[in-house]
């Protein structure tokens, strides 16, 4: 209300012999009545917009994809982000099923979520865009998005990659370029970096430890049929710890994000580092543009074995409203569409879907979309067999 109209209303009220207090009371009653009449319409308007709450990797929060979906479905997308699978799992265990409708997870993690009742099955009929999956990421080649081979679908593929080693070819000798040993080799001391994620550091050292001990093909703990670097024997874990302690003296740092690693690799301060191939792509593009004078390579699968991942969308068990469930499926199907997956590829992550025809050949090569078969030999990201035991090992490494 403007000042003038307020004043004139007061003066009219005085003339009519109405006190200020009674006028205020009347105004309040009027406002309350208006609100009562308007309330059902307000509620309807709010109900029309369903809010989908997602716990996802930050890279996948792509504005164009979100805006398209929100406009098409009159829905609202509310993302929250995490930095590692354990962190997301931990959040969902600590009441996150009530806070999130969708959650992303890698490798074996969806089965762990399902086992603990944190997610619910997904309806394949509502996900027609799954038809565009690369065969290497669909059953029978890849079964981890079903509770068991031939079981119910518990997630929808998103992207894939390895936790391979990117190396500067000017400094890493040809004979060393196929082994995890690079990351523990004293001759590269002071020019190595690793990520800050404790699980992948221990798992990678675990692969080398088991290779050195000759236990890869031996009896496995936790009822595993084959070697899993996330389920190590005590002997392997101890050797992995020794390797990691030795490695500390060779490291420049444990990087926190891609940009930090790029700042170290681009000027040639760091020669080798495990990463999700993002820096490999950036540096390759920089080399092709003549911005740097050295070439890089990305070791997808070291001879001892490597780590890989397929990340995926899961539906929280806390989402029970049928309309919300349907809308979550619509979001996932929208996200895995060719248009959206092409956008994902353009930000530098390799989709599980065949969008090669929408990308230039050099991008297809950089995103390793012609090497999808190599995923089959990689050890998928998993939960440590005992988070408590792994925490002690990591703390001992950090304190050493």
């Amino acid at each position: 209300m403007s000042k003038e109209s307020s004043k004139s209303r007061m003066s009219k009220a005085r003339k009519a012999g109405v006190s200020r207090r009674s006028l205020l009371k009347a105004s309040a009653a009027g406002a309350a009545a208006a609100a009562t009449f308007a309330a059902p319409h307000i509620r309807n308007a709010e109900a029309a917009t369903i809010n989908i709450r997602m716990l996802i990797w930050q890279d996948y929060n792509i504005a164009d994809t979100v805006n398209e979906f929100e406009a098409k479905y009159d829905a609202r997308i509310s993302p929250a982000f995490f930095d590692g699978n354990s962190e997301a799992f931990n959040k969902m265990k600590a009441g996150g099923t009530a806070d999130f409708d969708l959650v992303m997870a890698d490798g074996f993690w969806p089965r762990l979520y399902y086992r603990d009742g944190l997610i619910q099955p997904m309806n394949e009929e509502l996900l027609p865009n799954l038809a565009n999956l690369f065969p290497d990421f669909a059953p029978p080649a890849y079964n981890l998005l079903h509770d068991k081979p031939g079981g119910v679908r518990i997630g929808a593929n998103n992207c894939w990659g390895s936790y391979g080693i990117t190396m500067n070819l000017d400094h890493i000798e040809p004979a060393d370029r196929d082994s995890l040993n690079i990351m523990f080799d004293e001759k590269y001391g002071g020019h190595l970096a690793t990520g800050a994620r404790f699980e992948e550091n221990i798992a990678m050292a675990g692969i080398l430890a088991a290779t050195q001990l000759g236990t890869v093909d031996g009896p496995r703990p936790d009822g595993d049929e084959s070697f899993n670097p996330y389920h190590l024997t005590d002997e392997e874990l101890e050797r992995a710890k020794e390797l990691l302690i030795k490695q500390k003296g060779l490291l420049v740092t444990r990087y926190q994000d891609y940009d930090s690693l790029q700042k170290l690799m681009r000027p040639g301060l760091v020669w080798a580092s495990p990463e999700f191939s993002e820096i490999y792509r950036r540096l390759t593009r920089a080399y092709e543009a003549g911005e740097i004078d050295f070439q890089v390579a990305h070791m997808l699968q070291p001879k001892e074995g490597g780590l890989g991942w397929i990340d995926s969308w899961q539906l929280s068990s806390g989402t029970t409203d049928s309309e919300a469930i349907e809308l979550c499926h619509a979001w996932v199907n929208h996200y895995i569409s060719n248009e959206s997956m092409t956008r994902v590829a353009q930000i530098g992550v390799a989709p599980c879907y065949d969008v090669r025809e929408f990308l230039p050949p050099e991008e297809v090569s950089l995103l390793m979309m012609d090497r999808t078969v190599e995923l089959r030999g990689l050890h998928m990201f998993d939960q440590p067999s005992s988070p408590e035991k792994w925490e002690r090992v990591w703390s001992e490494v950090e304190a050493a």
């Binding site: 699980e199 408590e388 925490e391």
Partner: protein
């Protein structure tokens, strides 16, 4: 209808209530919960109310966590002393010579707080990092980069000092605002050298402000986790950083709670020891009731 007026006791309770609710909800209850959790155990990201002392045995039974504690304690002491040495002349200058620009100068010191901590730490990285201003400058002139300011404990120390110096300056400055600089003139007339006047008059009469500054810098430095993550190398993991890991990636909440209790106990002990050095009468304290 006649209104009942609140008596003095009622008014006192009404005014004290918001503060009391704040302390109970945001201080006592969280502390109580971490004390309880510290006697439980965690298994595969699940807290299990199985009362035991294992977490404390883990903390005190190995050198691992004591190493982190000692590392953080040493860092917090060094940072507090560095802040003290740096802050006193700054605060003294502003209080004595700042005149009408005092407030502006203090606000200028608080300017870094207008941004988030990660941005400030990243900014420091842009100065001290391997491709930061200092090292790039040196390398441009064909000189070797300074290694001890890149991903080391020293880098963390510089970063944490930069973050918390404004606390120290503000505390000392507020103390000096109430200090009567005429006392120094009297000392001078009586033959005291400036240094002796400082030691015998300025320093003790402002000790309370200094102690508050020391506590304000020491406590957050002790718990600091962001700066070591960004500026520290593989040998700089702090107690706060490892504590954060327990509630995040490793999900070992019970051990994290025990670490939290230990951190709280050490911090409280430091506050207590510092407080015992304060002579209220000497510092000119006039509060405390009748």
């Amino acid at each position: 209808m006649a209104r009942r007026r609140l008596g003095p006791e009622g008014r006192f309770l009404l005014m004290a209530l918001p503060g009391a609710i704040f302390v109970v909800v945001f201080l006592l209850l969280p502390i109580l919960s971490i004390i309880v959790f510290s006697f439980w155990r965690t298994e595969s990201y699940t807290l299990i109310p199985d009362w035991n002392l294992d977490n404390y045995a883990t903390l005190f039974g190995t050198t691992t966590y004591m190493t982190f504690l000692l590392r953080s304690f040493t860092m917090a002491v060094a940072v507090s002393l560095a802040s003290l040495v740096y802050a006193w002349p700054v605060a003294y200058f502003i209080a004595k010579h700042g005149d009408r620009y005092r407030l502006l100068l203090i606000l200028a010191l608080a300017a870094p707080f207008f941004t988030g901590i990660i941005l400030r730490v990243t900014g420091i990285q842009g100065v001290m990092g391997p491709v930061g201003v200092i090292n790039l400058g040196l390398m441009n002139y064909g000189l070797q980069p300074i290694e001890f300011i890149m991903y080391t404990q020293t880098a963390v120390g510089i970063g944490v000092t930069y973050l918390f110096i404004p606390f120290m300056v503000t505390a000392v400055y507020l103390s000096l605002l109430n200090f009567d600089f005429e006392l120094l003139e009297v000392a001078k007339i009586n033959g005291a050298k400036p240094w002796r006047a400082f030691i015998e008059i300025t320093w003790p009469l402002n000790w309370m402000g200094t102690v508050i500054g020391l506590v304000l810098v020491f406590i957050p430095s002790m718990a600091e986790s962001i700066t070591p993550r960004f500026l520290g190398g593989p040998n700089a993991a702090s107690f706060g950083q490892v504590l954060g890991l327990q509630f995040g990636e490793t999900g070992t909440w019970a051990l994290g709670s025990a670490m939290g209790v230990l951190l709280f106990a050490v911090s409280s002990l430091v506050i207590l020891l510092m407080w015992r050095t304060v002579n209220l009468q000497r510092s000119g304290f006039t509060g405390g009731g009748s």
